[in-house]
Subunit: 352 residues, 2 copies
């Protein structure tokens, strides 16, 4: 298994200033590298405490790249529906060079109605904008004199500059929340998968994973090259009671930010987002005690968290896990202690 | 006067790999800080050796911010016509926080027909897209619950996250090539000005500057807060003959990249770009010997360059100068030597 950190901010300016957030996030990226973690990841969101401090993950990851030398940098995710493919592919190629090829690009469809509304993008176009955007980036990275005649953009022939450092292109991951078809498409294309275990039943995730792996093998890709990412809220303390109490605080804080961000789903319908109407209720009824019992958070004393990961490995196999260690306005000292405890007691159990 | 560096890349992948370019550019940013320069600046361009290694100046400047602690970071320029204002204002606000308020934002209209074509933006909309884009960014930075109902974008009410570090917003500069009205508008708004001395007669620049300063004072802004930026190709060597020979090589290389990029102007007309049809001829007929005689390049032995700057100061007053020290595929060692010679022999003459 591989372990990295997901610096998903869920704070408002009242709670933590942006300058403090970025100072701490950069220190955590350096600390994660020093402690042997695999990657640092961040999101693209706008306008609300649910990720809004990170409207452009590339900007943050470029700063993190300049402060580190080994750790991988992962967008989790960038949203092709909101950015012209030549701009998206271009800045990602810059980051790939600045970091000497340490970039993996996670693409997502986005799912917050207010973001689509602000950018005047119909949600019903989301699926095709996503598929088109990933494919346009892949072409711009791997080929020259690219001509693109899609439903949303037409350009070319153009040759993207700079060329990416990794050839033919940085590893691509696609985010999928609840859609089995996306897993099949990702497996067929040889892309990695970013899944959201917190909002799905274990059996559902297993079913989606099976479809992904089946499509991967059927397409003739190397089974060892598969990459499946899952993010988990994470909080470690030496003493279990303390860990559960603080873990609950930050998880519930994060959940409140998510609940506010998905609230427009109560009055939104989209053919490209079947089943998303139920998200509001699912988020509202989310209960930390149940999440803990269902093993959907990596919260506890170190040995307890190791046990939780053994169970996760038995469910999903050798996957890549991103630890959400700042969400919920966790103070820097507690984020850093969580990482240190994890690196000392848990990492050695799961990595050679 | 203030002096910084403009890392305007004009190379193709055949001439210098992107990874080498970014390695060297980051080292030069660190060196410039160490030597006491005021700022590091870079451009937004696409697809051709004329700036194409820098499709997103924010990505590079974020890396430079993480490697430095004092030097200012300047976009020279970002193009609001190509990017949604919420995305542009958002990533710039991230950079402002990552750098602890060291950002100055130069906005430009862009002027290469192929870029507008790739982004499917009519050049005839350029002026209004620019004005709208700058104003939308200013509002998003300085106010909350912003509602925008422009000709090209409609959104809100939204509150931009993160809020910028500098309040109400980072210093704004606007780029103007040949248009007196833009100078008046910038002065009235209290924005800085980015001018292009290389393509204009001294008298024309003086006339535009006078309009800018007049409008600035008439609007009641503090005269001491004015900021006028000009970029110059720069090459220093101890021995004048050597400096002129190498300076010619890199200037002519840069000019060839520019000539190729503006070639579509031979078949382009736009009401928003009056007079630009003549650019091709002006670039083609550009002559390094004449540029040197006309004092349009900062090339020479250190004392000669100091004399050139005395003349520039006598023409334009106390302005901010950005030294183009990598353009034309200048090798890193020569860029670094140019900076060191400038810092040792020229900086002390013009800065207290």
């Amino acid at each position: 298994m591989k372990f990295g950190i997901n610096l998903f901010p869920t704070v408002s300016p009242d709670e933590k200033s942006a300058v403090q957030h970025f100072d701490e996030a950069l220190r955590l990226a350096e600390l994660a590298e020093e402690l042997g973690f695999d990657h640092v990841k961040t999101v693209e969101h706008y306008f609300t405490p649910y990720g809004g401090y990170s409207p452009d993950p590339v900007t943050f990851l470029a700063a993190a790249a300049a402060r580190t030398s080994r750790i991988r940098l992962v967008t989790g995710a960038v949203i092709p529906a909101f950015t012209h493919p030549a701009q998206l592919a271009g800045k990602l190629a810059m980051l790939d060079n600045i970091s000497h090829g340490r970039l993996s690009v996670g693409f997502g469809r986005a799912f917050l109605p207010d973001e689509f509304e602000a950018f005047e993008i119909p949600m019903d176009e989301s699926r095709q904008r996503f598929t088109d955007g990933v494919e346009a980036c892949r072409l711009l990275w791997s080929e020259e004199d690219v001509e693109w005649k899609g439903a949303f953009h037409r350009f070319g022939p153009v040759t993207l500059l700079p060329r990416p450092y990794q050839r033919p292109h940085p590893p691509i991951l696609v985010a999928t929340a609840i859609t089995p078809e996306s897993c099949v498409a990702a497996g067929r294309a040889g892309y990695g998968l970013m899944m959201v275990p917190s909002i799905n039943k274990v059996e559902k995730v297993q079913e989606m994973l099976a479809l992904y792996r089946e499509a991967w093998v059927a397409a003739g890709h190397d089974p060892a090259a598969q990459d499946v990412h899952m993010s988990y809220n994470c909080y470690l303390a030496e003493e279990a009671g303390r860990a559960h109490e603080r873990g609950r605080t930050y998880s519930e804080h994060t959940n409140r930010a998510l609940a506010a961000a998905v609230e427009p789903w109560t009055r939104t319908k989209s053919s490209d987002y079947e089943g998303y109407g139920r998200i509001v209720e699912r988020v509202r009824s989310s209960d930390f005690g149940k999440q803990l019992r269902d093993n959907k958070v990596l919260v506890g004393a170190p040995q307890e968290v190791a046990d939780r990961l053994r169970l996760i490995r038995s469910w999903f196999g050798d996957i890549t896990i991103s630890l959400q260690v700042i969400s919920g306005n966790m103070p820097y000292e507690e984020s850093a202690r969580t990482l240190r405890l994890f690196a000392e007691h848990v990492l050695p159990v799961f990595t050679p």
